[in-house]
């Protein structure tokens, strides 16, 4: 079997549900459990698989998480471009995601905190003050409709009749 296609299939299944057993994955791809485990270990070593996590609706969990997406405009440095500034930003643990973007701004920074004030302070005290950061525009997430392919509202339930020919 073409190993590279098998790796992609395993990755697709793990990314949909990382708690699926190797046995179930193997059963769906017609290979044995040991082959699946070998492939997963290899992908972990190669850092293709970086982390296993769960998608949580924190609002339902009644936690006080606040998330903001900040558009950052940067003055890129000779030879290193955006990388050095990006590193100085992502090293902060409050920064959960950092992307280099095309368009009207350069970096998209996703920051999490326990309150609006906390996040706003982070941006004004730590982020906006960094050398080479030209400007920041902070957008707070007010409501999540859909994330990572999952609809947060009471999506589309199974409305089918239980037995049909």
């Amino acid at each position: 079997m073409d190993d590279s296609q098998l790796k992609l299939d395993v990755l697709e299944l793990i990314s949909q549900n990382s708690r699926q057993s190797s046995e179930t994955i193997g059963s769906m791809l017609n290979v044995d459990k040991e082959t699946v485990e070998r492939i997963i270990k290899q992908l972990e070593r190669e850092k293709v698989i970086l982390k296993y996590s769960a998608l949580i609706d924190w609002d339902k969990a009644e936690s006080d998480k606040v998330t903001a997406l900040i558009d950052v405009r940067v003055d890129p440095q000779r030879e290193v471009g955006f990388d050095k500034v990006a590193r100085r930003i992502y090293l902060f643990p409050e920064v959960k995601s950092l992307y280099l973007m095309s368009g009207t701004y350069d970096l998209s920074v996703l920051v999490e905190g326990h309150s609006l004030k906390e996040v706003a302070f982070f941006v004004s005290n730590r982020l906006a003050t960094l050398e080479h950061v030209v400007s920041t525009t902070t957008h707070f997430i007010l409501k999540r409709y859909k994330e990572d392919g999952v609809v947060f509202e009471d999506g589309e339930s199974d409305k089918r009749m239980v037995v049909t020919p």
């Binding site: 299944l13 549900n17 699926q20 179930t24 059963s27 769906m28 791809l29 017609n30 589309e156 199974d158 089918r160 009749m161 239980v162 037995v163 049909t164 020919p165």
Partner: protein, 397 residues
């Protein structure tokens, strides 16, 4: 009380074997149902959106009896693209209220009293009853697991008489999941031509083929003029509730079907037709994604049943798997009822699809992997329990 008003022919029709199960299951809570004959994906949003748009813009009227010309053209293009078939959308294609109506119209258009219709079994529950209602005489022939549930030429020949008019085939097959290859079709086509029969072929599961490419009977030499090709949107495009199917065939036969349809239903729902047009124009990638997902579940189920020691034919089409439960010593109905009452898993007894289905159960894998895995786990417990009970009975314990 008013039973005397009901026609005798209808009174004599056997009730659907599935109905009994539906009635039991609907009384219970928290059942994992493997008895559903429709996809677990809602209709792709882009198709729904196109239909909603057409309603918003006032497209709510009758259409031509044959269906919207744009839809017939798209269907003709699809049949050319997929099968190299050329059908004239003006005369040789009819859009129907689901494939179910296409089956009914085809049979009513061609059967005269005394004509025999060969219906291989196990088969979808409608074929026999509709043929009977149309005045035909149903001749059943049993498909064998050893032949991968493919009709063998000898089996066909053994039930031909000088009154045989129609052969009814359906591949990929409900309930077995069997497919038929071109090589297997050729000798059947020869017999059909030699005996001047009409073939009605229900190919509604054609997109759900997991090995090789689906070949339509109409593609074979000399078959087009004696084949009514039936297909639809319910299974591949997840459009079961929209009720849109179609028939393609020689102009005189299609014309006869149109005649009946224009009196019986006028036309299929216009919003369903607009949805179908959108499906053919833009949703083929969505269909491929669904087929890929079904294929994974198919392997999960096949491996699951074989691992629990049940003999299981490998289905290569549709979304059903048909394991044999003979080794438990129970009948299909006993197995299905026991499994349902004790473990809350619903499957359809194979006997609901004809006596040839006795000893089998039909499990649909149109459900999430989580549900399927849990169902397999419970079925295994049930099978093991029955085996232990069977062993005790044999050893006289």
């Amino acid at each position: 009380m008013s039973k005397k008003f009901v026609a005798r022919s209808v009174d004599l029709l056997p009730p659907s074997g599935i109905r009994k199960f539906f009635d039991i299951v609907s009384q219970m809570e928290d059942v994992i149902s493997l008895g559903v004959g429709e996809p677990d994906f809602a209709t792709p949003w882009k198709i729904r959106e196109a239909a909603i748009y057409s309603i918003e813009h006032g497209y709510t009227t009758y259409t031509s009896n044959r269906g919207l010309p744009e839809l017939r053209e798209e269907i003709a293009r699809y049949l050319t693209r997929r099968h190299g078939l050329l059908y004239d959308p003006a005369q040789e294609i009819l859009v129907t209220v689901g494939v179910s109506q296409a089956i009914d119209l085809a049979l009513r258009a061609v059967l005269s009293p005394g004509d025999e219709v060969i219906v291989p079994q196990p088969s979808f529950v409608s074929y026999g009853p509709l043929a009977t209602l149309a005045g035909g005489i149903v001749v059943n022939v049993e498909l064998k697991e050893e032949s991968r549930f493919v009709l063998q030429p000898e089996e066909l020949e053994s039930c031909l008489t000088d009154r045989t008019k129609v052969l009814f085939l359906s591949y990929p097959n409900n309930p077995t999941g069997a497919i038929i290859t071109r090589q297997e079709m050729e000798p059947l086509a020869e017999l059909i031509k030699r005996h001047d029969l009409l073939l009605i072929t229900d190919e509604v599961y054609s997109e759900l083929t997991y090995e090789g490419k689906h070949v339509s009977f109409a593609e074979l030499p000399g078959m087009r003029e004696r084949t009514i090709l039936l297909n639809g949107f319910s299974k591949a495009f997840s459009m079961t509730g929209w009720r849109i199917g179609y028939a393609a065939g020689p102009a005189d036969i299609i014309g006869a079907m149109v005649k009946i349809a224009q009196y019986a239903t006028m036309c299929p729902p216009i919003m369903g037709q607009y949805a179908a047009i959108e499906g053919l124009r833009s949703a083929e990638a969505d269909v491929e994604a669904m087929v890929k997902e079904y294929n994974r579940r198919r392997k999960l189920m096949l491996n699951g049943f074989r691992d629990m020691g049940l003999k299981c034919f490998e289905p290569r089409g549709a979304f059903y798997i048909f394991p044999s439960i003979k080794s438990t010593g129970l009948t299909s109905e006993e197995f299905a009822e026991g499994l349902l009452r004790e473990y809350q898993v619903a499957v359809v007894p194979g006997s609901a699809f004809g006596s040839a289905g006795e000893g089998f159960i039909r499990c649909s894998y149109a459900s999430s992997v989580t549900a399927l895995s849990e169902a397999l786990r419970r079925i295994e417990e049930f099978v093991n329990k029955e085996r232990r009970a069977g062993n005790r009975a044999i050893s006289g314990a």
